[in-house]
């Protein structure tokens, strides 16, 4: 039910989310308000298990080498 409640008229597709995922991750890692800047990415990740899995894996991969981030 929560899922239906969280449904928006306009949502990103998996492709649109994937296209922005690297940018979104870097924003998340540099503590900027990634969710506020890219709310549709955040919304999709909340709803789509496959994209969430990719987000979490990328976050793990990036965190291990974060000292070199801008």
């Amino acid at each position: 039910m929560q899922m239906i409640d969280n449904t928006c008229e306009k949502e990103y597709s998996c492709e649109e989310t994937f296209a922005l995922l690297d940018e979104y991750i870097e924003l998340s890692l540099t503590n900027k308000e990634a969710a506020a800047l890219m709310p549709l990415v955040k919304q999709h990740i909340g709803m789509c298990p496959d994209c969430r899995e990719e987000f979490e894996a990328l976050l793990l991969a990036m965190q291990g080498q974060s000292p070199s981030l801008p």
Partner: protein
């Protein structure tokens, strides 16, 4: 050895000694990235992992070189490359997982006549059992009336059976990236229909909380 985005792109674009060096470096970076990124998915310290990761990265490198022109430069090049490598790996792992699972399905015979219920997600105990049952019946009727067979099948597979989009797509003979769209349409239809019936989903949630 840290390259700027421009240096990566230049090096990877054409055949040159710089190209080979960049590929070798990127390969190393991506294998290490998979090792960290897949920690929760597979046993990354198993001896088999290395060759698996190298296969994934090999496929990812082909994709990366092929898609160089689509890199928009809004992130570090290596972040973008990690994203592609992880996507290759996770897609493949999911495929393997559900292929194994579908074999399990053949081996195990399900007992009992458990009927999945859409409204029975992980909600806490209701205040009012009767009210809850009535609302559930209404929601299930809407699902029957409002959704296409395909939407219903996708909803069952993903929400109740917790299958991945890739697996659901294979079951329904459609592309994985179309599954999310199908579900979005389904959720939207239910939301509109609930609203039309004067039943807000927030209200329904409150019945279940």
């Amino acid at each position: 050895m840290n390259r700027t985005n421009e240096q990566w792109l230049n090096a990877l674009q054409g055949p040159s000694p710089a190209h080979d060096a960049a590929i070798a470096d990127l390969r190393q970076i991506l294998v290490a990235g998979l090792q960290r990124g897949l920690l929760g998915q597979v046993n990354t310290s198993a001896p088999e992992f290395e060759s698996l990761a190298e296969d994934f990265v090999q496929e990812a490198l082909l994709k990366i070189v092929d898609k160089l022109a689509t890199f928009a430069g809004r992130s570090q090049f290596t972040t973008w490359a990690h994203k592609i490598a992880l996507s290759v790996a996770l897609t493949e792992l999911r495929r393997k997982r559900w292929q194994d699972k579908s074999l399990d399905g053949i081996m195990d015979v399900d007992e009992g006549d458990y009927t999945p219920s859409f409204a029975a997600d992980k909600s806490p105990l209701p205040h009012n059992q009767v009210e809850r049952r009535e609302v559930m019946a209404r929601v299930e009727r809407l699902i029957r009336e409002e959704l296409t067979d395909k939407q219903r099948a996708a909803l069952t597979a993903i929400v109740i059976e917790e299958r991945s989009a890739a697996e659901t797509a294979a079951m329904l003979d459609m592309k994985a990236n179309a599954v999310y769209k199908l579900l979005h349409d389904a959720r939207l239809r239910l939301k509109h229909r609930l609203a039309a019936e004067g039943l807000s989903s927030a209200e329904i949630i409150s019945v279940f909380s």
